[in-house]
Symmetry: C2
Subunit: 114 residues, 2 copies
DNA sequence: TAAACATATAACAATTTACTTATATAATAA
DNA sequence: TTATTATATAAGTAAATTGTTATATGTTTA
């Protein structure tokens, strides 16, 4: 009961958005590392438009933000979001997904390293 | 990182389930009071089968449990669920919904009072 | 400037979801 | 034991969701 409250309507929208395995995994990964679109495409073995559409939904609700770096667009968690505390609380129940980034690095496909 | 981890697959299923305004409100109410089906029907101004189907989904995943009392079936949060800690963490971001029960009481429609 | 690369958007199809109405089941009351 | 009340289930439908392919946009490199 400590943090700011979120309306039930807004919370259900957020939860529905996170209630997709691909998006939830994306957000968990972004919690520890920024990523660009093509990295997600590699990780999830799915089409680039599919990934792009997932990211757009997350961006529309302000959960992630983007930043262009040359030809790449780097996505990151938006820590200023009013939903960030809720998202954080959810993510802490999930196992770390760093192995997915490790796999990318081993294939030499990691881009947005900082 | 303290509590038991939940697989991303299971977590996304739970979040999708809670990503519905009616179900999320139900769970928030059940967090403080047990309720029977007909009370939810009154609260949400929707059909009895619709409510029944929402409750079944929540029950199928073990988030709520039921207990017959005469002709009524009383639903409550299943605190033994492996998902209970996650659900609790989510619910604490939501405003209290006790006013909905108050409205029922004022109409004399509260059943499962204990 | 043209080709290549990274990403976004549009249009569409398949699937899933959340209602509805009708009906079945179970308990209680008359 | 019949009527009533509470709940569940089945079947059908409309809307939402998620993927696909095709194409557009913007950046870099040759």
């Amino acid at each position: 009961m400590q943090q700011t409250l979120i309306t039930i309507t807004n919370a259900s929208t957020i939860l529905k958005l996170l209630g997709d395995k691909t998006r939830l995994t994306m957000v968990k990964i972004l919690d520890s590392h920024d990523c660009c679109v093509c990295e997600f495409v590699e990780m999830f073995k799915t089409s680039q438009p599919a990934i792009s559409q997932h990211l757009r939904k997350l961006k529309d609700l302000g959960i992630v933000k983007e930043m262009r770096r040359g030809q790449w667009i780097i996505y990151s968690l938006n820590k200023e979001s009013e939903y960030y505390p809720l998202v954080q609380n959810i993510l802490q129940h999930l196992p770390n997904q760093d192995f997915k980034l490790k796999e990318l690095e081993e294939q030499g496909l990691r881009i947005s390293c900082e």
